[in-house]
């Protein structure tokens, strides 16, 4: 374990004291040995032990490929990525699921996206509702378009929404219902925006395909429809932030304090009105690169809005990201204001760090979640002195692991090819360079890297283990080998991990608590992890009679 030798000396990490240390490469081999040959060949390329070369180029990992049937994976489907993740948090659109009842039911209110409907004049909020065509056998046999049309009519008559979107589920694609022509027909009839997402669950290999489908739908049907110029000196869109547990509220608080105006968040606490107006911003900042980079790229091509990757999770990440935004604007007033805000916010953060550090330093965390959170949260753990020993994504692509420099080398396989790549051109009227090309060049020299993301692996130490689309079996083996103090994954994994006597923080929707973004969020997170790892419950697991089962003496009076 050379990677940690320095750290070990520094903080006396538990790793150094562990004589049974399992070498990552050996563990990888053991895992592969368990698998049938076909599975092993595939998994061999999805399990990587980190080793960076001198240019900080990391090993190649295979990602965004099919999960082998029968492997218990964390992944969900295209519909979940489209309806659940990207479109779910928008309050004033009727999201109508076209399919049997299940899909709509399971994605109803289960993601903890907070929203504040008081900030849009009409106050519409359909998020507590679930709308479905509830397809039955006769529609599967004879087609469901008629029912879909009638359901849209009823939704319009009863709820008077300003926008309706339709989500296709698996059987809809198979029986050939044309949701897009139904949408066009009903849009014409009712005079409101209606459009469909072809997000059948079998498309792609994970939720990721659904993100792409959702991005396309938003870009084609909503973004750029309202040219009103809103007030604000520094206008940005926040992309890939879903306001789980109020994250977007905390980010907004800090941005406002800095004098930065958010035109639209995609899609936490969002309104379709904000989306429609989002092309008037000067800059797109991206949190979750995986789920939303498509919109950012298309907006740059069509409207000329540059994008930067930021990370508002962790205090350090928040400060660095604010500075990056300020450098983009290259405006001394903003640069100074950002420094003032950081100076105001940091004392409370430092105080919290100092409090939890002695109880958490050197402990091991594992993060297997999402398409960016497994990266972003590592910085929070670092701020507590914890070590992110193993990490991986559920549905990310190679660029999220290794950085966008791999993009030209990515092969488009059959599963990705069935997700449409929109051909986007400059908008003759609405395209404008937000920043002069010369200034831009100067800035790039100034290290504001536009449209760049370095990925997760370069930020991880040598010797750490990275697994894409981790399986239940691999999870078990990692726990057995390294006994982490904390595991981060999703709800399906939560109680499996906790039965091992190891706390599990759910990092999709947090289960409880939040916000964890921004400065106040970082403080919340430190104390949350402190609570979980240092809870008294872990002391009680063994009953006294289990600790010492053999009776050493008998009562004398028998």
């Amino acid at each position: 374990m050379e990677a940690f030798s320095e750290k070990e000396e520094e903080n006396g990490a538990m790793i150094s004291n562990n004589n049974d240390w399992v070498e990552p490469e050996e563990l990888k081999q053991e895992i592969l040995n368990k698998y049938p040959p076909k599975v092993a060949r595939k998994k061999a390329r999805q399990i990587v032990v980190n080793k960076k070369n001198k240019d900080n180029i990391v090993p190649e990992i295979q990602a965004n490929v099919r999960t082998v049937p029968g492997i218990i994976s964390q992944r969900g489907c295209c519909y979940a990525g489209c309806k659940g993740v990207v479109m779910g948090p928008t309050r004033d659109i009727i999201n109508l699921t076209h399919g049997p009842i299940g899909c709509g039911f399971y994605s109803w209110l289960t993601r903890r996206n907070q929203t504040d409907a008081s900030t849009t004049p009409d106050g519409h909020n359909f998020m507590p509702y679930c709308f479905s065509t509830d397809m039955e056998e006769k529609e599967i046999i004879f087609g469901g378009e008629k029912k879909l049309k009638a359901a849209i009519q009823e939704a319009y008559d009863i709820f008077k929404p300003k926008m309706i979107s339709i989500f296709a589920t698996c059987p809809v694609g198979l029986i050939g219902d044309d949701i897009h022509s139904v949408a066009r027909e009903m849009e014409e009839k009712l005079g409101i925006t209606i459009f469909g997402f072809s997000c059948e669950g079998y498309k792609g290999v994970s939720q990721s395909a659904g993100h792409h489908v959702a991005n396309n739908g938003l870009f084609l049907n909503v973004i750029g429809k309202d040219d009103t110029i809103k007030e604000g000196e520094y206008k940005i869109n926040l992309l890939g932030e879903y306001n789980i547990g109020g994250d977007a509220f905390e980010i907004d608080r800090v941005l406002k304090k800095c004098g930065i105006t958010t035109i639209s968040t995609f899609s936490g606490n969002s309104s379709v009105d904000f989306f429609a107006n989002s092309h008037t911003a000067d800059l797109n900042v991206i949190m979750c690169h995986r789920s939303i980079n498509y919109v950012a790229e298309m907006m740059e091509k069509k409207y000329g809005i540059p994008w930067i990757k930021i990370n508002f999770l962790s205090a350090g990440g928040m400060s660095r990201s604010l500075r990056k935004i300020a450098q983009y604007y290259a405006d001394q007033k903003l640069i100074d204001r950002v420094e003032e805000v950081i100076a105001e916010e940091m004392p409370a953060v430092k105080k919290a760090q100092e409090e939890v550090m002695p109880r958490l330093e050197g402990k091991i965390a594992m993060l297997f979640v999402g398409g960016s959170r497994a990266h972003h949260y590592q910085e929070l753990f670092k701020e507590m002195g914890m070590i992110s020993l193993c990490a991986g994504y559920e549905f990310a692509h190679r660029d999220d692991y290794e950085g966008r420099h791999v993009l030209p080398h990515l092969k488009v396989d059959a599963d990705s090819r069935n997700i449409e790549e929109l051909k986007v051109k400059k908008d003759p009227e609405k395209y404008k360079l937000r920043i002069k090309e010369k200034e831009l060049e100067a800035q790039e020299k100034n290290k504001v890297k536009l449209r760049d993301y370095d990925g997760m692996i370069p930020d991880m130490e040598d010797g750490t283990i990275i697994i894409d689309d981790i399986s239940q079996y691999e999870t078990e083996r990692l726990i057995e080998a390294y006994h982490p103090a904390l595991f981060c994954a999703g709800i399906k994994e939560k109680y499996i991990i906790q039965k091992h006597g190891i706390p599990m923080k759910q990092l999709h929707s947090y289960d409880t608590g939040g916000p964890y973004a921004g400065y106040k969020g970082a403080i919340n997170f430190y104390f949350e992890i402190d609570r979980m790892i240092n809870s008294k419950v872990w002391d009680h697991i063994q009953a006294p009679w289990e600790k010492c089962p053999e009776l050493v003496a008998k009562y004398a009076f028998e």
Partner: protein
């Protein structure tokens, strides 16, 4: 207001479902499969299905919910899922080593027409099912029936695959508990034990979905009906099916396949349904009811006697699954409460008839609908307000908007614990249920009474 778009006016609505009071078949099949010891449920569909079902069951039970999937992609959806299922079977037995795989289908695999028995046959022929291991299946298209149907179909599949006819009947009774909580299954077994009757209860999720914290994860927990027991169900002297929708198909198949006579009863929720359950058990097994059961019944009646002032003629609105609602409604009527709105999302032609019979003498207009949704339920409540709401967690939005006391009952309960540990069936279960109803009503009285009327002793 959380449900601010819900108006009092009830518009004609025939094609759009809003806030469903049901979900799809496969999740019920998955829940039933977990009640077999050493079983890994398998979803033959795309990953989203099993991910959603596992997530929902996990949130409800706060326990590991293990299952696998055929991970359909677009290719499989075009060419059929045989290759996926065969590969899944190989991988599951090699890596996860269950005793049995219980395959259920989805709308996807049903629409493309995958023939599961044929695929299982091929798996057998190819020798990829290890010796002594089993695969069973149930057809559970999401566009037919609801989660309750899926539970019934998988339970029936257990009989279909395992029950062996035998003319020599054993001194044992099959009990099919219906879609109830693990704690309920345990309580049903306890009641039978008190009567000194040997039973085979299936499916049985006790000690599968309410496991202890031991610091050790068991992929296949100790609980669950064993395959050996399932094989013996054909030798039992009788079967008792609790809950007509979820349990009758399995019991009826045992009758036709193995000549095991069956009694189809309501879920033993409340006084009268538990009376019928205990009485049927007694008669079928030819035993006497021990004092302890009569004692528990007496305790329940004692609470009803003592606390009547607080629940007498209180109006209740209920939403949930037919088997639960029939027994619950009867219980409420039997203690002089007034169930006035009753909705299930499951379409069942007998449901409305049955509720009408149960509520015939209720001195109030009763609204009942099978195949309804929670939007209609909420609108009924707006039009005719009630004193108490009962239903799954989604009802809490209505409870908050309308400021009405709420007792969680049914599936799913995503925001409270207790339901998997403490039963609501049997006399003891009814005591707990009544305690929770009283807590809700009396907390409200405490909250709303004026300072002058506020009371210490209630």
């Amino acid at each position: 207001m959380l449900l601010k778009h819900t108006s009092k006016k009830i518009a004609d609505r025939r094609f759009l479902t809003v806030n469903p009071a049901k979900t799809c078949q496969p999740i019920g099949a998955m829940y039933a499969s977990l009640g077999i010891h050493g079983c890994l449920p398998h979803s033959h569909g795309s990953q989203g299905c099993y991910a959603y079902h596992r997530s929902t069951l996990t949130r409800h039970y706060k326990e590991p919910v293990m299952a696998a999937t055929s991970s359909f992609t677009e290719g499989a959806s075009v060419f059929g899922g045989q290759a996926n299922l065969l590969q899944a079977i190989t991988n599951i037995f090699t890596i996860y080593d269950p005793d049995i795989i219980a395959v259920h289908t989805t709308c996807l695999s049903e629409t493309i027409g995958d023939d599961i028995p044929q695929i299982i046959g091929k798996a057998k022929a190819d020798g990829i099912i290890p010796k002594g291991k089993f695969i069973i299946h149930a057809s559970t298209p999401s566009y037919v029936g609801t989660h309750v149907t899926g539970f019934a179909n998988m339970t029936r599949a257990m009989v279909d695959y395992f029950a062996k006819p035998n003319v020599h009947k054993k001194n044992q009774i099959n009990i099919i508990p219906g879609w109830v909580e693990p704690a309920d299954m345990n309580e049903i077994k306890r009641i039978a034990r008190e009567l000194e009757i040997n039973t085979i209860l299936f499916p049985d999720t006790e000690n599968v979905l309410n496991c202890p914290q031991t610091g050790k994860f068991e992929m296949y927990p100790k609980g669950g009906v064993t395959i050996d027991e399932l094989m013996q169900t054909g030798e039992s002297m009788g079967s008792i099916a609790l809950g007509r929708l979820s349990s009758a198909p399995a019991a009826m198949l045992l009758d036709t396949k193995c000549k095991v006579p069956c009694a189809i009863l309501d879920l033993p929720i409340g006084i009268k349904a538990t009376d019928r359950f205990v009485d049927t058990l007694r008669k079928m097994a030819g035993v006497n009811v021990p004092d302890i059961i009569t004692f528990e019944r007496g305790q329940l009646l004692d609470i009803v006697t003592d606390m009547q002032a607080y629940f007498y003629h209180k109006k209740v609105a209920l939403v949930g699954d037919p088997d639960h609602l029939i027994a619950l409604t009867e219980f409420l009527v039997s203690i002089d409460m007034l169930p006035v709105h009753i909705i299930t999302g499951t379409k069942d032609k007998n449901f409305e008839k049955r509720i009408k019979v149960i509520t015939e003498k209720v001195p109030h207009k009763v609204n009942v609908k099978s195949g309804g949704d929670m939007l209609l339920f909420h609108q009924w409540v707006k039009n005719e307000p009630v004193d108490l709401l009962m239903g799954n967690t989604y009802v809490k939005y209505i409870a908050r908007d309308e400021d009405i006391p709420f007792v969680r009952y049914g599936f799913p309960i995503l925001d409270r614990i207790g339901h998997s540990y403490f039963p609501t069936v049997g006399y003891r279960g009814a005591m707990r249920l009544l305690e929770r109803i009283l807590d809700a009503l009396m907390d409200r009285q405490d909250r709303d009474s004026s300072e002058i009327e506020f009371e210490l002793v209630m």
